[in-house]
Amino acid sequence: MPGIKDRVAIAGVGATRFTEHYEKDHEDLICEAVDEALGDAGVARGDIQAIWAGIYYQFTGLGGPAVADPLKMYGIPVTRVENYCASGMDAFRNACFAVAAGVYDIVLACGVEKITDQGSRGLPNVREGAHPFLPPASAPAMFAMSATRCFDVHGWTKEDLARVAVKNHANGAKHPKAHFRRAITMEDAVNAPEIASPLGRFDCCAVSDGAAAVVITRPEIARTMKHKDDFVVVKANGLSVETANPMYKPGFEYLGFPATQTASRAAYDEAGITDPFEQIDLAEVHDCFTITELLNYEDLGFCKKGEGAAFVRDGLSAPDGPLPVNPSGGLKSFGHPIGATGCRMITEVARQLQGRAEGVQVKDPKIGLAHNLGGPGAVSSVTILGRNDTL
């Protein structure tokens, strides 16, 4: 089983600003992101042989034409990929597999979501996916269940959550494409209005619009493109799915997300990572809520179970720490246009490895990780990328 390690390269990346794009629709956003990615790789639309597009909401667009129509790229395979909040990274995964299989030379992975203008606060229509026996629970309420458990079992506090928000907003303040570009204080975070306690306003990411795109090819072809030898190598992707109804699952502890644990182990196995804390130089992880980032540290094996709060408190995930997490500012600063987020994370990690981050640049990274988590911990995708000299 040859897998995908070192057989797939990222030749170009692009992303819109993530914000409330009231003046744009999903067609404007996807074109902007794809054009930036194609320009970055130095290829034309006609060079692309297939597209995978991460889109979650039906109202953003259905089927391949959701992106083929705005891009006017017809007559090639275009597949809409939906896998909760991991839709974007699952689109990337499918594109990588197609290149590794030798079916195509140059393909595009992209993601887009247009959520504002839907007449709703928070995520629209979450009720449609809710189980009939479940009192309607918002996304903050579902993740708050984990925070309550961590407070009870580990003794974590609202200050522990706030440290994630303060770190990520400080990073996002320096990123031109972030939705929120203002640093906050511990007092801002701890004293913010409650949403679903113990999660307050700064513990939750915002609802935003945006798109991101990645040009994917083989390393030998990437060398002939715009960045020459300075392309990014795909080391691995792991995808794992668990139940969408963990609340009915006896024994579910709410102290971590098994999908992230299994997806990351699969990715580490393929990438040859045995000590993630030592071997990974930066990570963009799914901080839909502050509690999620603390649990991600543990689930991704950056620290032991129960040590997530200490990991950020000790500065280990700070931009100048040993394992910077969300140097872009994360979902906390960018918001979460669901289908777009995974490809944005890939974009951020790729730019970091090339030393051209648009926000905070981590010092000399060789190996980077991107992590999506979808639903109530139901789907996780973990991607490992490497600098060209890791090939």
């Binding site: 709703s120 606060r121 928070g122 009720r127 189980h131 009939p132 026996f133 479940l134 009192p135 309607p136 629970a137 918002s138 903050p140 309420a141 708050a144 269940m145 984990s146 925070a147 309550t148 458990r149 009870d152 209005p193 409650e194 949403i195 679903a196 306690s197 113990p198 999660l199 109804n245 609340m247 009915y248 699952k249 006896p250 579910f252 709410y254």
Partner: protein, 144 residues
């Protein structure tokens, strides 16, 4: 002109072939859970086949209605009627004595007093779609 309903009812369950017995039991003040006759385990939510062994040889059992709060949140923000008039309210994962878990509101105490591990007992809150269509929703109250 049809009369517009004065109260929100969109959130109320619509009983189907697999859940009608459950909702009828609730109307009678009983919390019914499913039991698998093949592997002898209880399960929730009610459905035709056992989620552990896939047997369709299942039966209804009345739960003691006693359990504890496994975890919970206090919801402070919800724009949708009727919930916007209820904030702050508690959504909890309840672990029943029979070992199954369900989600429900915790009532009968201040949201500030809810704790993990708190002993609770089922009660039923009636909500009406119309005069002759009443649903009894299981909620939990502190025991004792």
């Amino acid at each position: 002109m049809p009369q517009m309903p004065k109260i929100a009812t969109w959130h109320l369950p619509v009983p189907d072939v697999e859940s009608a017995t459950y909702w009828q039991g609730a109307r009678e003040g009983k919390l019914l859970i499913k039991h698998c006759n093949a592997c002898e385990r209880h399960f929730f939510y009610p459905r035709a086949a056992c989620p552990f062994c896939w047997s369709v040889d299942t039966s209804w059992r009345e739960s003691s209605g006693r359990g504890n709060v496994y975890t919970f949140t206090v919801v402070h923000q919800n724009d949708l009627p009727p919930f916007r008039d209820r904030v702050p309210y508690v959504i909890a994962v309840i672990e029943l004595e029979e070992g199954v878990r369900m989600t429900a509101n915790v009532e009968g105490c201040s949201p500030d007093d809810v704790r993990c591990g708190m002993r609770v007992r089922v009660a039923f809150r009636d909500e009406a779609r119309s005069e002759d269509d009443v649903v009894s929703l299981p909620v939990f109250r502190p025991e004792g």
